[in-house]
Every structure is written in C-alpha cells, then in structure tokens.
Symmetry: C2
Subunit: 285 residues, 2 copies
C-alpha cells in the first residue's frame, strides 16, 4: 500500500465536498478559487460536476492544469435507466453530451450513476439489461473522444430510484459483457464499505478496470442517506482495509474525497474543510 | 411455486404491519383482537413482537392456536453486536430471555437482528466475528428449548447501527461456521430485493436453513428507511421472482407480511389493512 503520511499528491478533491455552491449550500467559491485553494494545499487533482462547468469546459480544464492539478474526473452522466430515462435516445444523447464535456475539460474519467428501476419492470435485472444495451452505444463514442467511463455502484438503498447497480460484482459483470478498455468501475467507500465480497470482486476487476477510488466515511447514525456523509475517521468504514483491497487489485490512481454533508461540512469555510481533508487523508486513509 | 390465488393459508401477519400499537401508531388493538381478526380472514399464522407479549407468552400462544393460527415467529432478540451490545454477558442474557419467551409462546422461530458495528472496530468483519462467537453460546440454549433462530440480514443502509449482517451470503457463512440445525436465516424482501446474488445464496442455504420469508415492497421513492415500507405491489421488488428463489431452494413455510409504514398503512383501520394484505397476497405475491 502507498504511504500518504508525508505525501498527499494522490489526493483529489471532488468539488461536491464544498457543497456545489448550489441550493443554498457552500460558500459560493468559483471553480477558479477552488482550483487555487487545492493547488495551494498540495492536492494532486480535482473532480468537477457538470453544473459547475457549463460552457467553460476547455477554459476550466486548462486553468486547473496551469495551477498544477490534473482533472481526475467529471461527475456525471444523466441517468441511463429508471423513471428519468424512459426515452432511450434522450438518455443516450445526455450521456454523449456529458462525454463531450469530459473531453473538453480533459477529464480522465466520466462517472456514471446509472439510474433506478425502469417503471415498467420489477427488480433490478431488467434494468441492468437496459443499462448494458444503452452503454453499448455510449462506450464507443467515449472511446473515440479519449474518455474513460466509470460505472459507480451505489449503496442498495438507492436501488429503486438512483442506481439499480448496487455492487462491484454487478458492475464487473457489465464490464465483462461489453469488454471495452475504456469501461471500468468507480469504487466509493460510502457505497461499498459493508460488502464482504468487495476484495474478491476488486481482484476480479483488476487494475485495468478500476478507474476511481472515492473517499468519505459512513456515519454509524446516518441521518440522511444522501447528504449526511462523514469525514474520513468520523464513521465506521474500514478505510485502510478498503484501500488495501483497491490497491491490492492494482489501483494506483487518485484518492478522491467526496463528502455530501448538508448539515456539517457544507456549512463550514471551504478552506477549513480542505485543511481537514488533507490532515485526515495523511493520518487515516 | 405454490399457487396462492385461491388459498392464502400460507399467509402470516407480522403484527408490526398494524403499527405495534406503540409510539402513537396503530389502533390500539390487543393481541387477542389481532388474533381474531387474522383468524376470521383465513390467515394461517401470526408473528408477534416481544413488546406485545410481556409476561403473557403462554396465554397468548394458546389463544392464537385456539383461534386456529400457528405462531410462526417472535421478533426479536436484542442486538448482539454494536454500540448497544458492548456488554457481552448482557447481550447473551438478553437473547436467552427472548428465547425463553419464544418457547413459552410456542413460536416456531425467533428472529435475530444482529446489531451494528462494534464501536471499537471499523468495517463489518470484526463485528461479524463477535456475533458468531456470541451465537455459539446462544444457539445451544435455544436448541434445548426447541426454538429455531433465524439470522435476518438487513439492507446495507443499516450496517452501521442495526445490522452488520447485510447479505444472505454472510448469514449462510455464519450458519456454516456454527453448523447447528436450529440456526438458519430469514429472508425479507425489503432487505434483499436488490441482490443479484440472492438466488445462488438461497440455493446454498437450502430448505433446511431458510426459517422465514418476509413480505412487503420497496417503494422506489422511499422517504424513510425504517418506517416507509410499501404494501406488496406498490413498489419495485420482484416479489414473484424472489419467492421463486426462496421456494426453489425448498422453502415451503409461511409468507409473513411485515410492513412498517408510519405515514400510510399504520394510519388506517387495521381491518382494512388486513383485507388489503389478503387481496394483494392472492393477486401479486
């Protein structure tokens, strides 16, 4: 395992950790100000959300790299399955538009949160088939533009309306089915920390298909399943063991801190949040 | 698969579906009134909660059987792991007391919700070991009293504070480790509906270790992870497929309807709720 005690150049900020500056959350920092604050603190890379980029993908990507940061990723495609993706062509077009943005930004990876259960079906099986079929059209489009796509399984709580894809196992199954070098997975502690099958499935994925590793913590007494994530060390996830599994499978990329926390971290000064992230990352992750 | 279209004698009521008559929920019906209402409607069995039984286990069990109902189960042991089970002996004593109640009631099965992550540890692995060790002392006590113990995996959302046991896979692992004929699993649609590994793991469990099958539905837009369960047919779980897997593994016991629903079903007249359960069970389950 890599030793981050005295070197946090592997650390990436997912800008969601500062509250997105939307919906009344966050301090209103521009992408440029977030870039500078990360660069000053020695973060190695940054991950944006589409809502922050708008039509400025190329400029923001260049700005990040000029400050010494790589753009590790972009969040995320619109849903590809479920109630919000009933129109197949619109779902595919939405994904292609996100791929274009990722290419403009120079983001290494575009994350896919797949969407929930198709309303005309029951269970997750049919929706996973729909997802796989649609990915078959999207993945080559991304490959042509040099964008890697990372399927992110979400905690099973979200299976109904956000992600019929709930485990690394199912994500690797889809990767196997499509067999494309630019299709892999993102592993987020929040979603997979409970899974005793994780290590085996990451081995199955292998280094060539792990495109991202996302960090936060699971608070034992989670008050809100969407917006009450914990800072590393404040919860019950075994962060060292999970990173051990991820790196044991060959992953050597960025460790991306992504903390949705409406009632706690989003209320704090972004500079303080970034300082705490660096400190916790070095000490605990 | 069994055909329930014209025969719902396999139907069991878990009394939680009527709101427990506690905390301001439910219509205040006594166990006797619930028993009679179920018997009138042709339910085959009933499952109580300890809070409803108090010191009247023997009398209530006899009353149920006199009305023609079997007592399919009792919910549940106090937590065996996690923050509420730091005192090993107290946790074991609490489980033994619940076993005594189940024996007095004549309940076929005592359900175990295991508890969350031990506060001195991270991840679920160590807590599952603690659980297994404590079960080793409890299982023989139950066997002497003719009580079967059913490990119930809960949705991973609860892994931190309610159940470090999240999958049928992990539950069968523990059954394998202890190898006791009176230790098995309970399969609850709410907790396992998303799991693509379910069928394989139920096959692994086999008929001799599936001690219960719990029914409700997962609402796509779940508002509260504890108290917003859906009535069968109102959600996205594939009820027929799950029962197919359960029965495919050899299970032929009661189908127990357990719906925690503070804002909907608990506000309705219990007689109406029971009528809807029978109707939905025959048509959709």
């Amino acid at each position: 395992m890599r030793d981050f005690t005295n070197d946090h150049s592997a650390l990436a900020l997912n800008t969601a950790s500062l509250g997105h500056n939307l919906d009344g959350h966050g301090a209103g920092w521009s992408p440029e100000r977030v870039i500078d604050a990360c660069a000053e603190r020695g973060f190695g890379s940054i991950v944006f959300w589409r809502r922050e980029i708008g039509s400025r993908a190329v400029a923001i990507g260049e700005r990040a790299r000029a400050a010494g940061l790589s753009v590790a990723g972009l969040c995320r495609t619109p849903f590809l399955t479920g109630a919000e993706a009933m129109d197949r062509q619109a779902a595919i077009d939405g994904a292609k538009s996100a791929i274009d943005m990722a290419a403009g930004l120079g983001a290494a990876v575009l994350t896919i949160v797949v969407g929930g259960v198709h309303p005309d079906t029951k269970g997750t099986e049919e929706s996973l088939k729909i997802l796989t079929e649609r990915l078959g059209e999207i993945v080559p489009y991304a490959a042509e533009r040099g964008v890697k796509l990372a399927l992110e399984p979400l905690n099973p709580f979200y299976a109904g309306n956000r992600s019929c894809l709930t485990t690394v196992r199912d994500a690797v199954d889809i990767c196997d089915a499509l067999g494309a070098p630019n299709l892999g997975i993102a592993v987020d502690v929040y979603h997979v920390w409970w899974d005793s099958d994780l290590d085996a499935q990451l081995q199955r994925a292998g280094a060539g298909r792990i495109f991202g590793y996302h960090l936060c913590d699971w608070l034992a007494e989670t008050r809100d399943v969407l917006l009450d994530r914990g800072m590393m060390g404040d919860g019950v996830a075994d962060l060292r063991a999970i990173r051990g599994s991820v790196e044991g499978a060959g992953y050597a990329g960025p460790c991306e801190v992504e903390i949705f926390s409406a009632q706690n971290w989003w209320k704090r000064d972004p500079g303080e949040v970034l300082d705490v992230i660096v400190e916790r990352f070095r000490a605990l992750c």
